[in-house]
């Protein structure tokens, strides 16, 4: 990911909520920024990901389901 950054504005109340989550995360997140970047990346990834299984993975699962008697 590019190192270049941009600034965005979010409601202060949301910021406070996220800050609280970060504090309670037990060190999982070090800052509000890190938390927000993580959540957005996960969201974007989910939308970009498309298929859950690669063709090879799907074939492997189907092979097992056939052995289990489901296909």
């Amino acid at each position: 990911m590019s190192k270049e950054k941009v600034a965005i504005y979010i409601p202060k109340s949301l910021y406070e909520k996220v800050k609280k989550q970060v504090e309670e995360s037990g060190g999982e997140f070090k800052s509000v920024e890190e938390y927000i970047v993580f959540v957005l990346e996960e969201l974007v990834k989910e939308e970009e990901e498309g298929e859950v299984y690669s063709p090879e993975e799907e074939e492997e699962i189907k092979r097992r389901l056939r052995a289990l008697g489901y296909l």
Binding site: V52, Y53, E60, R64, L65, R66, A67, L68, G69, L71
Partner: protein
């Protein structure tokens, strides 16, 4: 308050609470000190829809779940494998995350790909390979590999049970049970408020080991080494559970639950053969050998333009009407014609008899009577339990009979049963006695009740 849930996939109430109750001291003690009873599984009583309904509290029709696979839109036999993205409603851990509760979710079906939980997650048997990202957080995978002695020791599932010698299968299932509980007990040391694990080995065992203990089974086989095989697996889980309970904090509620049961299977009904004989399924040419519906479709043997109904399913028949506008080459008009054809098909399937012309107790469900939700349209138009699940189903084509002992993949001794088990043991004893009239979908509210 903490809640620990152990799911025992396919645990049958008549065995666990009946025939073998005295042989399972840990389970028996929890039941007698808590509340217990059989619970109604989902329609159909199949692992994927069942566990999703249990943990969302919603009907499988909200997710379009009726099997371990689903028909892809715009196709008859292009199947996708069920995955966690289909679960579009929150499960218990999604709700608890909002409340800041820590969750451990281990081997629960339909959790691949894993989602971000407030805690940790290991996906279940629909994980493709050990290279796939099957844990949350991702780093947990390496940790788990270390616990069991390396990636090559990690077992996703024991699945090839029809080709294996039953004795070898039993050994592999015992090892898998040990493997799973080892991981469970390791993870219990992490922080959690809700912890749930599902053990699959009983489900895998029943299809092959049932005939060795059940003298009423038509293919009952005497084998001193395998006679108690299925019981031994139950006892192993009971012992592993006892060791696991020792690690739980005092204020932990313990719930034991199964998603469906099991019962002896006599035969399978070749449903597409029945539909072809009655003229609902039109073949351009009958294959010279038994092949899957998918293969028949790919070979161009099915005359879809003139087919009114076809069936899927290995244990429970899922019948789809070839509806115009909904199916790629649909020929049955929605509305009156659909209702008429569906009633005719249902009538035929309701009246399927046994090989000696004996009546069968076939249970036929119409879609809207058992399903609801946003994906209602994807659900089968008719769901059939042949002989109330003592007969399985078979979707393959090219049989000379409407009965088979096996699918193209091999024999099978047991079908799924329509009831599962539930035990709720509450340290504050708010639950006691017999649980009655509960459905699997009630699990969600029972769990959430302890966090109110």
């Amino acid at each position: 308050m903490k809640v620990f849930v152990l799911g025992i996939d396919s645990a049958e109430p008549e065995l666990v609470f009946g025939k073998w109750f005295d042989e399972l001291p840990t389970i028996k003690q929890l039941a007698e000190d808590g509340a217990w009873g059989k619970i109604a599984s989902t329609v159909p009583p199949i692992t994927c829809p069942a566990w999703v309904s249990a943990l969302t509290g919603l009907n499988p029709g909200y997710f379009g779940l009726y099997d371990l696979r689903y028909r892809k839109k715009g196709s008859y036999t292009d199947f996708g494998v069920v995955n966690s993205r289909m679960v579009v409603k929150p499960r218990v851990w999604d709700i608890l995350r909002e409340r800041g509760k820590k969750c451990g979710v281990v081997f629960v079906p339909v959790t691949y790909p894993p989602s971000r939980v407030n805690g940790f997650m290991i996906s279940s048997f629909l994980t493709p390979t050990t290279k796939s990202p099957f844990t949350y957080p991702k780093s947990l995978k390496e940790e788990i590999f270390k616990v069991i002695g390396g990636e090559d020791k990690y077992v996703i599932d024991v699945y090839d049970y029809r080709r294996k010698d039953p004795k070898q299968l039993l050994e592999e299932l015992r090892a898998k049970t040990e493997h799973d509980f080892k991981i469970v007990r390791y993870l219990l040391k992490k922080p959690w408020d809700f912890f749930m694990a599902v053990i699959m080995s009983i489900d895998r065992a029943q299809h092959t080991l049932w005939k060795f203990f059940d003298e009423e089974h038509p293919r009952f086989a005497e084998d001193p080494e395998l006679k108690d095989g299925l019981l031994e697996l139950h006892k192993q889980i009971d012992e592993e559970l006892a060791k696991t309970l020792e690690l739980l904090p005092r204020d932990t509620v313990v719930i034991i639950v199964s998603d469906h049961g099991a019962k002896r299977m006599y035969y399978r009904i070749n449903v597409n053969e029945v539909l072809a004989r009655e003229g609902f399924l039109k073949l351009r040419e009958k294959p010279g050998e038994v092949i899957s519906l998918k293969e028949a479709d790919e070979r161009g043997l099915i005359d879809w333009e003139n087919t009114q109904a076809f069936a899927l399913g290995a244990y429970i028949a899922q019948v789809f009407i070839n509806v115009e506008g909904r199916e790629p080459k649909g020929c049955v008009k929605p509305g009156e014609e659909y209702e008429r054809v569906r009633e005719e098909v249902a009538d035929v399937l309701r009246n399927v008899k046994g090989p000696n012309n004996e009546p069968l107790n076939n249970v036929v469900y119409m879609k809207e009577d058992v399903y609801e939700g946003e994906k209602l349209e994807d659900m089968p138009d008719i769901t059939v339990y042949f002989d109330n699940l003592h007969y399985g189903a078979n979707e393959s084509i090219g049989h000379n009979s409407i009965y088979s002992l096996e699918t193209v993949k091999g024999p099978d001794d047991s079908n799924h049963g329509e009831y599962g088990i539930m035990i709720v043991w509450d340290p504050e004893q708010r639950f006691s006695g017999k649980l009655r009239n509960l459905k699997l979908e009630d699990l969600k509210s029972i769990i959430m009740g302890f966090f109110e």
